[in-house]
């Protein structure tokens, strides 16, 4: 087989195509641009104004984010003297890799998952829960009062939402009897949302907390601590810092769709026969709609106080996730699905 055929087969294989092209890196970047634009456009529509307009005027300023991205690209990347040089540069790159890693586990069609192992769910959640550590490192390395305050807040917040996130995901895997994302979808004859709504609600709220979207936008509280851990960053690294939250949100909404909204369920047969990689269209559409709703919340809510968010995380959603655990255990026993 000649080299070209080998490369094409390699490129089309699930291990490469899924993480790089379809639900993975390229679509993530495109979704990143579209979602930020959608967030600003939705907020503008509600707030009696126009929103981004002047880049590609007739499309309503869709490529505004591309313009912002190139602007970040050309801005000078300044490393402050007092900053701790190596971790200052490494931390955002570490954060970016950790934010992209989940796409290595997310399947996009039956039999088309990059790493097909029975434990993809805990692996994904473990990778996502590693991101706050790199944000902490960013805050600490910038050696600036505001960024340390931001980093401490990130540490507190990650304790607040990790546990409910994990327990509600685990309770669903108990219900389905499997830890692999791929099998979860095949096992969902009715969407997980209807089977265990408490787990769905808990996972949704802790997903908002983990992505740092309003009303839990506490880490970058720009009214008190300017931009939290990202305050010293300029140029493309600042762009990465800003995009990090949206990448995390995209990964989590993909997982949410797989666990609760029965993933790619109405599978388009003919697409699947041509090439399974692009069959996960409905998975992407559902995840995108979910992101639109989360991003819409920005124009409805303000920001919770740090201790209120932690109190909500521990007192309300931790308890709710335990209840959802018991519910799925009960369902499992009754239905022995």
């Amino acid at each position: 087989m000649d080299i070209v055929g080998f490369i094409v087969k390699l490129f089309l294989s699930p291990q490469v195509f899924a993480p790089i092209v379809f639900p993975g890196l390229l679509t993530a970047l495109v979704v990143l641009l579209i979602i930020i634009w959608a967030e600003r456009k939705i907020a503008a529509r509600i707030q009696m104004r126009v929103g981004p307009l002047y880049v590609t005027r007739h499309l309503g300023g869709v490529l505004q984010m591309l313009a912002d991205g190139t602007r970040y690209m050309f801005q000078e990347f300044i490393v402050p003297e007092t900053a701790d040089r190596i971790p200052f540069i490494v931390a955002p790159i570490l954060a970016l890799t950790l934010a992209i890693l989940p796409f290595a586990f997310i399947p996009s069609a039956p039999g088309f998952s990059p790493i097909s192992s029975p434990l993809t769910l805990p692996a994904v959640l473990a990778v996502i829960s590693a991101i706050p550590i790199s944000v902490l490192l960013m805050g600490w390395a910038s050696n600036n009062k505001f960024s340390i305050q931001g980093a401490v807040r990130e540490a507190f917040m990650s304790l607040g939402y990790e546990v409910p996130l994990f327990i509600s995901a685990i309770s669903m895997s108990i219900l389905y009897g499997t830890m692999s994302l791929e099998e979860m979808v095949t096992k969902q004859f009715i969407p997980g949302l209807i089977l265990n709504p408490i787990a769905a609600f808990t996972f949704l709220v802790s997903m908002i907390m983990s992505a740092g979207k309003l009303p839990f936008d506490i880490v970058e509280g720009e009214q008190e601590i300017v931009a939290g851990p990202y305050v010293e960053y300029t140029g493309i690294i600042f762009g990465i810092g800003m995009g990090l939250a949206y990448l995390k949100l995209y990964a989590l909404s993909l997982i949410y769709t797989i666990i609760f909204l029965s993933g790619w369920e109405p599978l388009p047969k003919l697409l699947y026969d041509i090439y399974p990689g692009i069959a996960g269209i409905f998975l992407f559409v559902k995840a995108f709609l979910l992101m639109l709703f989360i991003v819409f919340l920005r124009s409805v809510y303000g920001r919770y106080r740090l201790d209120q968010a932690l109190k909500i995380g521990w007192r309300v959603y931790f308890v709710l996730s335990i209840v959802s655990l018991i519910l799925s255990l009960g369902l499992r026993v009754i239905l022995n699905v």
Binding site: A43, Q47, R49, Q223, E224, V226, G302, Y304, L306, D307
Partner: protein, 404 residues
């Protein structure tokens, strides 16, 4: 009547150094809310130990400038103390000048002054609620408040010809008469505002997330509010029923019925609700003013007779007042005058001393935000660090007005 021991008050007022376990953090001077001021906040963990407001970044030495200019030039100068509530600032200054010059404005001018004062009060409260919203990162409240404020600025523009810096009152009366069709325009704007206030409540003040940030935060007890001479909605939210419109007689407030909204809790939510209530009161005041508006001249006879007969006819016909020549160098009789007015942020106080020349010898102005600054020292200690923006937003503080 020293109901509360003064060392408790002064102990909270003084700026404590604190040992090395306290963490010092600066908020501002480029504060992301309304204007430039800096807070040196000392924290122990997440709890605020003490706050030192460092004001003066937009100090324009208004009192010294007013001493160097003729009396009428002080009006556009002092109007820029609070640009969002400019007529309430100048109405007190003009009342003080009129007490010195003993020129009595005709009743229609008093009604017109009250009309513009209330329009400015609504615009100022909307500005304050917008800033309070963005301090909690609730950008919708910010955009809605500033968008709806545009309606009232447009109404003021139709009446006076300028959006914010109206310079509408002059010693002896006002400069423009009511334009045609003003009443219908106001009626539409008022109904729109009443509908919008319900949306504000649903998305902002009754929103459980915002309520949890405001309720029980920054409680100011009644006695402390009086002792620290707090003014405006912050005072009325702590249970003290005081309003400068009742204390001093300026404008047409004597002939109108309006009640002063008062709440007892004294926390941030009470302050915001008092402002919403005051907007409703202002709407009803304007309705009464537009109904009971007497006809007649809008400029005092004492100065109208100085105009040549032809311009006098033109003024009475077009309703656009022309100033007599002596206004360029108006001689203030020797003496002192004191005046108070109720602005959106609270009570403003003027004390003018004149020695008979055209320039006031000393013009003293104490603005409501200057009297509320002490609250930044007094309220935050003991709260969490993230309560500070909530307290700052609810006090409706305006740095250019405090720094003068």
């Amino acid at each position: 009547m020293l109901s509360m021991s003064s060392e408790f008050v002064s102990s909270r007022l003084l700026f404590k150094e604190g040992d090395e376990s306290t963490y010092e953090l600066f908020i501002g001077p480029q504060h992301p809310a309304s204007g430039h001021m800096r807070f040196i906040v000392r924290l122990k963990g997440d709890i605020i130990v003490s706050v030192d407001p460092d004001i003066g970044y937009v100090h324009r030495t208004m009192e010294k400038l007013a001493e160097g200019r003729e009396a009428i030039k002080a009006i556009p100068l002092l109007e820029r103390l609070t640009i969002i509530d400019s007529h309430n600032v100048t109405v007190a200054l003009v009342t003080a000048l009129e007490r010195l010059l003993d020129a009595e404005p005709p009743p229609r001018a008093l009604y017109l002054r009250t009309l513009l004062s209330e329009i400015n009060r609504i615009a100022s409260h909307l500005y304050g609620m917008g800033i309070a919203g963005i301090m909690l990162n609730h950008s919708t409240m910010f955009m809605w408040a500033f968008g709806d404020r545009e309606v009232w600025i447009q109404l003021a523009e139709e009446l006076t010809g300028a959006r914010l810096t109206h310079t509408y009152s002059i010693p002896g009366g006002v400069r423009r008469d009511l334009p045609q069709g003003f009443k219908e325009k106001f009626e539409k704007a008022a109904r729109y505002m009443e509908k919008r206030l319900q949306d504000y409540m649903k998305i902002f003040l009754l929103n459980p997330q915002i309520a949890s940030r405001y309720e029980g935060v920054g409680i100011l007890k009644k006695s402390e509010a009086r002792r620290l001479s707090i003014v405006g909605p912050n005072l009325r939210a702590s249970g003290v029923k005081y309003d400068a419109r009742l204390a001093d007689d300026y404008g047409a407030y004597k002939e109108l019925e309006f009640e002063v909204p008062v709440r007892e809790e004294g926390d941030c939510m009470a302050r915001m609700l008092v402002r919403v209530e005051e907007i409703k009161q202002s709407l009803s005041i304007i309705r009464q003013v537009l109904e009971k508006m007497p006809s007649g001249p809008i400029f005092a006879e004492k100065y109208l007779k100085l105009l040549p007969p032809k311009t006098r006819e033109q003024v009475l016909k077009t309703g656009h007042v022309k100033l007599p020549g002596i206004f360029a160098s108006l001689k203030l009789p020797a003496g002192e005058a004191v005046a108070r007015a109720e602005m959106g942020h609270g009570e403003i106080f003027y004390h003018i001393v004149s020695d008979g020349s055209t320039k006031p010898y000393r013009l003293r102005v104490v603005t409501p935000s200057f009297r509320n600054v002490v609250l930044f020292r007094y309220l935050p200690p003991g709260h969490r660090f993230m309560d500070f923006p909530a307290i700052y937003g609810s006090l409706d503080y305006f740095p250019p007005e405090a720094d003068r």
